[in-house]
Symmetry: C2
Subunit: 225 residues, 2 copies
């Protein structure tokens, strides 16, 4: 156990550990080694041990990690043993998808309000929640102690929505719009836009067998002008 600063990379692996541990728990596996965990999650065992050791001595030498105990610990580290209220802004397909997933996470992160600016959507229901007009954002955030906002509006509206969330006092934003949001440093912004993922994937495709579209330059990759 040390007092170092925990890197973002470490924090982003914790939910992955948690997920697999929960799976093991369901299968009534009592104990797991960093070796086995690494195999399953495609990670280096040393890295897993190091990640966990930042937060405490959770394992037992010669044995491994007690599954239930480690679940409990990671849940605590990630603050998933408290309820955190979340607002969803944007009641489109993506918003729907997110609120469905959210049903899984019983306590912890919980979507407690949904907003949209498109008038016909207001008043409709999404998983027990009534879609509210975006004008009610601020008061609802305060009333319901909402601490996280999820943005699933079109990119043109994303910054405006972010500004309203920040002004209302949220501490973190998960942004699905394909824009880089501006925010003061105390508000944590996480980009979750998948067009970026999809486009970067294209880079790794084998050239050679593509269905061509236009200006197909078959020259040997000249870059200089």
């Amino acid at each position: 156990m040390k007092a170092e600063k925990i890197s973002e990379a470490v924090v982003r692996r914790l939910p992955v550990y948690l997920r697999h541990l929960t799976e093991l728990h369901k299968r009534e596996v009592m104990t797991v080694s960093s070796q086995e965990l690494g195999q399953k999650l495609d990670l280096n065992p040393a890295q897993i041990r190091k990640d966990l050791a930042y937060f405490g001595d959770f394992g037992r030498k010669g044995i491994g990690y007690d599954v239930s105990y480690l679940i409990e610990k990671i849940r605590h580290i990630l603050k998933l043993d408290r309820q955190i209220n979340v607002a969803l802004i944007g009641a489109g397909n993506l918003g729907h998808a997110l609120s469905n997933y959210n049903m899984y996470l019983k306590e912890s992160m919980k979507i407690v309000a949904v907003f949209d600016s498109y008038v016909p959507k207001i008043g409709t229901k999404i998983n027990m929640l009534t879609v509210q007009p975006i004008e009610e954002l601020k008061e609802t955030v305060v009333e319901k102690n909402i601490r996280v906002g999820i943005i699933t509006v079109p990119d043109t509206e994303a910054q405006r929505v972010a500004d309203q969330l920040i002004e209302a006092g949220v501490e973190a934003i998960l942004n699905f719009a394909p824009t880089v949001l501006k925010a003061p440093p105390e508000v944590r912004i996480h980009a979750a836009d998948f067009t970026t993922d999809l486009l970067s994937l294209a880079y790794y495709l084998d050239s050679g067998k593509e269905t061509e579209v236009h200006d197909n330059d078959k020259q040997p990759e000249k870059v200089d002008r």
Copy 2:
């Protein structure tokens, strides 16, 4: 221009550059410096210059980068100047959301087939595409020269779907299910699961003002047993 291996981090920034450059192009901005780009995208200008320099000498000293020219170059690097056919497996809300976004990206990555295993969904339309039974996956992948698969099925089915995609011969998979997929090294897997994002965000919230749920241990963070 060098012959180094390009890191994943670099590749993942390219779509972000492209997006902003396209925006500038729309606003008829002719030229942009790494300085300005860095400001807008929250990146170090040196990093932007270095990223671009991996692929060629795209800028002009004292001037900056020609917006149109750089767009063209990045599109070429990312292979977005050819059409790449994509299959979507899972016609739920998330699948819908993705196929909507896909409409934007005129050419390049294009969803050309949608599959689902849920019988009542088969035959329904999503953005001009008819949902097909998953049994037709392999033949369709071959027929339509599909090279990328997007998985938006529940986590319990994800690995099976991945296996079918791989067997059918896709080169890359974008996986939205919260599972670590097993695949041979020549198939690129990209995890795009957002529960991980959401859960890791909780870590960064200020403790102190939470709505408590259960087993609220207010002891001073003891880790040892």
